[in-house]
């Protein structure tokens, strides 16, 4: 299913944080692609600066950052709450 926010996020992650194959999609595992502590910290900062969303503590967990779609879900949840 298309998810524009997730696609947008993935583009930013690719540009700044993680190098992936062109076929890497919004449901592919970011940890398998190399996401680590430092990159997650930079990603949370990127979400604040570029997407105007500060994830609440309860969403700062490994599951949130597994795929671009899950990060997009967390962003929507944050904005809606």
């Amino acid at each position: 299913m298309t998810d524009e926010l997730a696609a947008q996020l993935l583009a930013r992650i690719r540009a700044d944080l993680v190098e992936t194959e062109p076929s890497f999609g919004i449901d592919d595992d970011l940890f398998a692609a190399g996401l680590d502590s430092m990159a997650i910290m930079q990603l949370t900062l990127l979400l604040e600066e570029d997407f105007a969303a500060k994830l609440p503590d309860r969403l700062i967990k490994r599951e949130t950052f597994t795929t671009a779609r899950r990060i997009a879900d967390a962003l929507r949840e944050t904005r809606g709450s």
Binding site: D16, D36, M38, K61
Partner: protein, 426 residues
Amino acid sequence: MSALAPLTGADAFLLAMEHLMLRHGQGQHLGFTQVRLGPGFDLKRFREACARVASVSPLATARVEQPLFQIPRWRIGDETPSFPIQVHEPNTDPASLGEARLNTPTDRNLSFDVIPQPDGGTTLLVCWRHLVLDGKGIELLLAEIARLAADPAAEPRTQSWGVVGERSLPWREFLGEMERFKNRFYENAAYKIGALSGSEPKPGRALCEVVKFSAEETAQISALAAAVSRGVFQLAWFLAAVTRAHRAVFLHRGSEPESYQTGCPVQQRKRGTRHPIWQNQVSQLFFRLLPAEATDLAKAAEILQEQFATQTRERLDLAFSSMASILRRLPTPWYLRFLRSNSGGYITSFFYSHTGNFLPECDTLAGAPVLEGWHVPSISAPPGTGLFFSERSGALTATLSWREGVLTDEERALLWKSLREDLLGS
């Protein structure tokens, strides 16, 4: 044909550290990487792949030149590049050989030792000058050799030798970075630090010990780390445990420094990238724990986590990188004096890194499955000790590197005991 390339900021820092080591009878700043392979290693294919990488890379022939008050640079020699490969008897002990390599002067930037194992497997040792590349660089080099060994028709990558750390900033932004770095620097410098070697460099051999944790133990460690770090920020948790392990030795000696401080390397390469291989492509973040903050592991991890968040928000990794670029212009003895004079001579309390998954790019190398691997850098005294972690196939490896005379056997046992108890929660 000769060519020139500037040292990165991290290269120049390591040049200063090597200067200290050479001046005080501690040898070159070398490291080795040990890789245990299963059956099927094809030495001929491995040799050919190494020769192909060497032929297009500066790794084999690069030498440092340091014109006065200019950025030191690499001169890439025009001799025929090659990586020496020595094959040993099957009864050779890889750990002893690795330690011997750390203490043997060499004019080679990189060399390989191949040790056939009685079970049909092979142990590979890569000995490397830390000036030439970092631990991640070694893994990327092995991945490139593996790629070429798997496909003899493949072309070696020629674009893997650039620099990721060079940035061109407007003056205002640059000054802002310097200001942020300076603030952090002086905030830390307000606290005296200590290191187990004492502040004065002394001669001594590089020594090392590797401890492997089983998959079950590693799962237990990960679960404990996740409970504190929410499964995403394990850096702070491991660093807290390493600080406490050093603290255990200080307490045993009956004195404690005003603070424990260390730099933590931050990769400047994008995650998942296959290059650049050459040069040290890292910056640093700086952490500090006071003795009262280190009494409890969870509390210590939480404090370090806050420092991690603040420094990431302030992009202090980029700020340090900019500062390191400026410091490259200092003649190496002055650079070293700068490092030591602002830390009471200690430079840092200890060295630490967690390089994450070991060689995740490779399932096999020259026909043999990659079973496990780790890095062992030699370290200077001061600070005299370093603890380094990596993981392969869900099993954690910890490497203690120290300088002869810095730790007694009893203190080393104490350090490991504290680390194991913290990591395993026992």
